[in-house]
Symmetry: C2
Subunit: 493 residues, 2 copies
């Protein structure tokens, strides 16, 4: 067994350590020399590229166009929207100078005090302010609306406690920013993009999500409503995986963006914004992976099928390779990404463990005996089941198996999630049980006080008011006051 694999912490021992270990051992990412910022290694980045390609296609199908807005935002822009600045000022990286000069001893560089900026610039934590300042020039009439732009970029939020992919000072994301003529259209857009995220999470990532709306406390800074998709990790904690915000006219008012309506009267523009980030890679890892390493959904796996020849002698290797080449060609024609690993400096056992660690969904192995028997060995990563099947028709077999793996890991994750969603009406019981994870459906009186008390007592937070749940009024389990509906409460990342 490969050394790397032996050293992977077991989930049951220490879930958090398992996650950190896995990221390093599977070559996804590592800490950089800059506090809280990670290096995304080629294998991790390949997953992100697959995610980007699908999401980008889905956005464009709704009429969204990509654009690019500046990295640096004048400090004064942040202050224009009162809630927005409250939310982000505490974690802004600030550019104050534009030049370095040699130190006196000539051995290093120091900030040149003469190159101080007149106004400090913020490294964007999100781009509503600079984008709405730009939209002011692009929007004049109802004919200019809707305006729907997205950008793929890096953002920075100076976080005190960071974890790879889940919370880093710099992260990669996409941020969509749309402008509309009516409140209804903007609300519909925010909800539509949430559905795009949910579709992507479930049908590509194989991560089941609950859709809902955030409480006021948990809203995006400057939004009237924040919609969210919440996924459950294998330790029962929630991971907010994507958010879509109905921003009302807040940013239009702050940046004075109006349009002439059909009656030629000026009105403020209605806005949305929505984003998902490299955090999705964290969700992917924590939902499916196991003590042997990553489990990747076939639709997002950089390598979908790995093929390993089993041969001690060069002539055996050649015979196996000759047999396999047409299969590789056939699989690639089907759009399946195949890696043929005939490197001779590692043993098959090492390769097996390594590709398990890397989460390759399907592994094929073939030796001289298989050629004689007309067979090939197939291993599926999700269940680790191995079988020997007929070599004839193996490409179709693998193609179907990939669909099956994708489906199976989704069902498995959904089953786990569903088994860990509980209705709960008793606060003492809640406090005890929430320690072990899970989503708790509880009546909430709608007050910030109750929300704060729950958080203080249990570290759990209100994740959302779920959409797909038949709601009945009841009694808040904490305050005893009347409650309109149940919310999902959970500990979270």
């Amino acid at each position: 067994m490969a050394k790397e694999l032996k050293e992977l912490t077991k989930r049951a021992e220490n879930y958090s350590q398992w996650y950190n270990d896995l990221i390093v051992k599977a070559d996804l990412a590592e800490q950089s020399a800059v506090r809280g910022c990670m290096v995304i290694k080629p294998y991790g980045y390949a997953i992100w590229e697959k995610m980007q390609a699908e999401l980008d296609r889905m956005f464009k199908e709704t009429g969204v166009q990509n654009a690019y807005f500046p990295l640096l935002i004048p400090k004064s822009f942040l202050s224009r929207e009162a809630e927005h600045v409250k939310g982000f000022a505490k974690e802004c990286a600030v550019v104050t100078h534009y030049r370095l000069k040699s130190s006196e001893d000539g051995n290093s560089v120091v900030v040149d005090p003469e190159a101080r900026l007149e106004e400090e610039l913020i490294v964007r934590p999100t781009s509503e302010t600079i984008i709405w300042n730009t939209y002011k020039n692009w929007i004049h009439s109802y004919r200019d609306l809707p305006l729907m732009c997205n950008q793929w970029c890096n953002v920075m939020r100076w976080e005190m406690r960071t974890r790879p992919f889940l919370r880093t000072s710099e992260f990669l994301w996409q941020e969509g920013h749309t402008a509309h003529a009516t409140r209804e259209e903007a609300e519909a857009e925010a909800q539509k993009m949430l559905k795009v995220y949910a579709d992507f999470a479930e049908n590509f990532m194989a991560v089941p999500v609950l859709q809902g709306v955030k409480s006021e406390t948990e809203r995006f800074a400057g939004a009237l409503d924040t919609y969210t998709i919440e996924a459950m990790m294998q330790d029962g904690k929630a991971l907010q995986s994507g958010t879509s915000h109905f921003l009302g006219q807040n940013f239009a008012k702050s940046f004075d963006v109006t349009f002439l309506n059909k009656e030629n009267k000026p009105e403020y523009v209605w806005a949305t914004s929505w984003g998902v980030s490299t955090r999705l890679i964290g969700a992917l890892i924590m939902t499916h992976s196991d003590d042997n390493g990553l489990v990747l959904p076939p639709k997002l796996a950089p390598i979908q099928v790995v093929i390993i020849p089993i041969a001690n002698k060069p002539e055996q290797r050649e015979a196996v390779t000759e047999k396999l080449m047409p299969v590789i060609t056939e699989l690639r024609k089907k759009g399946i990404s195949v890696k043929y690993d005939d490197s001779d400096n590692k043993r098959p056992g090492f390769k097996f463990a390594d590709y398990e660690l890397k989460g390759v969904p399907v592994r094929l192995a073939m030796g001289a005996r298989d050629i004689e028997n007309g067979t090939i060995e197939v291993m599926r990563r999700d269940t680790l089941e191995k079988e020997t099947v007929s070599f004839e028709g193996i490409a179709e077999y693998v193609e179907k198996l990939l669909v099956d793996v994708q489906q199976n890991i989704f069902e498995k994750a959904r089953k786990y999630r569903d088994e860990h969603v509980y209705e709960c009406d008793n606060y003492e019981e809640f406090k005890e049980r929430v320690k072990d994870g899970g989503f708790f459906l509880c009546h909430w009186d709608g007050t910030e006080e109750t929300e704060a008390k729950i958080k203080e007592d249990t570290q759990a937070t209100i994740r959302c008011v779920p959409f797909a749940y038949e709601q009945t009024p009841g009694v808040d389990m904490v305050s005893g006051k009347p409650a309109k509906h149940r919310v999902i409460i959970a500990r979270s990342y």
Copy 2:
């Protein structure tokens, strides 16, 4: 004629103004609120996306993988490579603080003096330092080599004089960073990537380029050799369009990156880096466009074919649309991007001018008369030639026409370039003629003094020692000293 078009400055009047006008009027980009930083608008960004897709494919075909390294670089990293810091310290945006707080009057935010970073961070002007600091952990043995990573990202160089796409404080680019076991392999890699750039410039952008090697003065800061592709704009000025650097062991030594060779002895790693940026969009615009607007090469045009129905009455419009739909489907099946513009709030004449301004390579127009006659009108943007052709087989016709347009604009640009490359042996003549643009092939004695004098006298610089030019020794036209070869001297952007 559309208002926007009428206002486009003519090239002959003011080439520089024409360029700036065109960028704004064709909706490519605009200045942002942040000095020297631009907003890339959807139409401009769509060109960049097309460029990225092709280049990314070409890089990956050579075995390069994408990754992502941090935006912010510790200030001390810059000092490690002596030449590198000299080249970049004067244009670095510096992050000094990580938090803002409310001002005393509560109406704005100010930098929180208590949130000062222990060590200032630089917004990356290029990533050699942080990447080689990372490679130190990735490279141990000759088996880890070659290591070939690329990243698509934003970088920042605080430029005093900026122009959209050509020179902006923030720009988008890709930077490849490779590590090799031998000098020969690294040199070959640097040259191979230059060939990839030249291939992309000529076969996708339709921009002819001269390949060559830079003089020591013009080298990338920290490189042993900088290879370049130089394009000629329509005013005869040179535009450096992509560079590939052989970095020797400079960064490996600065960051202590060694590997054990096959004899188990430690050696420093050999390096290259190479990059192209959104500057390529500037090259594209300035090479092909004319007084009517953009001329885009079909292979990179976001819209390759626009189809405009000519109809005054709704029933005419319907008849034309019905006729055209199968053609649109057929073109799209061929992988051609088609826009069918049947909007009824703009007249055909306005649309014609607008798509000319936007550089759409082929325009089709069809009216009731055409239906009767079994014809359709075709306009090619490069020559503005219009003809009425048979409707039958129009999809194949258009497909061939796109190939022809791509070829024609390349040939036209090459002809222009070739007509403006001169051998010159007399400095007085050179000084007179270089004002009008063009590339001058002149003998150079290889000294910095001569190079500096030429620049001072004429603003022209040595662009490169060209590869594809039969060299004979001669006499430096400035110093009269012996010269080994001719170099290309030109004014440049």
